[in-house]
């Protein structure tokens, strides 16, 4: 159902949505009708396509069902070439459609803007309402003032950009993704350091790990973090700073 909620975002990118499930049409029809899923959901009875593309999960053992696929998504271009794919290692983990859009540069939801003296940071996220096992993305969009820069990790004495996410048992942090900093030569000191300038995005990839039995009420939560940074211009460096950050979540239970 999360993917159905992202249909407009994919449509604006010219991408249609479809799902493949190894179950009969009538079973799928009842589900899509009940949950108002409008995009095509294909009944791959007998897992014909699933077997042809090598997606059968050999680790799935059952007395009642067979040829069950790994769950994930393919991004195909207009010629049917695979341009990207998203498959999670855990068999109950599911990357959200929203996180796919955010990784591609789409705006996140629930944006908060923080203005410092020399840069603006906008935090947002791929999803606010989440379910157990969903893999979502938290977004940090930076806009650095002209002729100023922030630092990447390297052999230097400046404080590099660093995001410290508070440990929380409901989160599994996978990776923090930054763009590639560029080498900046500060001639007066004859040092070359990695820097970030202008507009750039960082993304925190994480999976929600919690249990809420079906029928449980939704409950609020949040992801807390601290951003460390130091800003310099071509002529002066400012003291290092920190920013407290937070992303709200609404935890919902499994629907079935």
């Amino acid at each position: 159902m999360e993917l159905a909620g992202q249909e407009e975002g994919f449509r604006s990118a010219g991408l249609a949505l479809a799902s493949v499930i190894p179950e009969p049409v009538e079973v799928i029809r009842e589900f899509t009708s009940r949950h108002a899923v409008r995009y095509p959901v294909l009944a791959d009875v007998g897992s014909v396509l699933i077997k042809r593309i090598g997606l059968v999960d050999p680790g799935f053992k059952s007395d009642t069902v067979k040829d069950i696929p790994f769950a994930g998504s393919f991004v195909l271009d207009a010629q049917g070439i695979v341009r990207d794919k998203f498959f999670e290692p855990g068999n109950t983990d599911r990357r959200t459609g929203g996180s796919i859009l955010v990784l591609a540069g789409a705006a996140g939801t629930h944006t908060t803007e923080i203005r410092t003296d020399h840069f603006t940071l906008r935090t947002s996220q791929s999803n606010v309402t989440v379910a157990p096992g969903q893999r979502i993305a938290l977004v940090l969009d930076f806009e650095v003032e002209d002729k100023h820069h922030l630092y990447g990790v390297g052999d230097h004495s400046y404080r590099p950009l660093r995001l410290r996410v508070e440990q929380d048992p409901l989160l599994e942090i996978h990776e923090l993704l930054w763009p590639t900093p560029r080498p900046y030569l500060f001639a007066p000191l004859n040092e070359t350091v990695p820097v970030f300038e202008g507009r750039f995005r960082a993304v925190v990839d994480l999976t929600l790990r919690y249990d809420l039995p079906p029928g449980s009420p939704e409950r609020p939560a949040h992801v807390a973090a601290t951003l460390d940074y130091q800003v310099c211009s071509d002529t002066v460096c400012y003291p290092p700073g920190t920013l407290p950050l937070s992303w709200p979540l609404t935890l919902r239970p499994w629907l079935r």
Partner: protein
């Protein structure tokens, strides 16, 4: 809006096409340079997805050609709608 859609389409279809531009620009921010999840089972990035056809929930026979949008298709594979 159409310009935003075009930029997003190009980005979605270039997700796995090498490192992003390191310096941000006014038109498009620099994006994360690495993403480790372009792996997993099935056809690899760069390969043609095999032809397929199946019936959807409305009983319509669907193929890649009937499903795709102007810039392609996000094809989601799932295990069940029941369990």
């Amino acid at each position: 809006m159409w310009q935003v859609g075009r930029v997003l389409a190009l980005a979605l279809l270039g997700l796995h096409c090498g490192p992003a531009t390191p310096v941000g620009s006014a038109s498009r921010p620099a994006m994360p340079a690495t993403r480790s999840t372009s792996q997993g089972p099935g056809p690899a990035v760069g390969e043609s997805f095999p032809a397929f056809e199946a019936f959807d929930q409305e009983g319509r026979r669907q193929t890649f050609e009937s499903l795709r949008g102007p810039n392609g298709l996000l094809l989601n594979i799932n295990r069940s709608v029941v369990w």
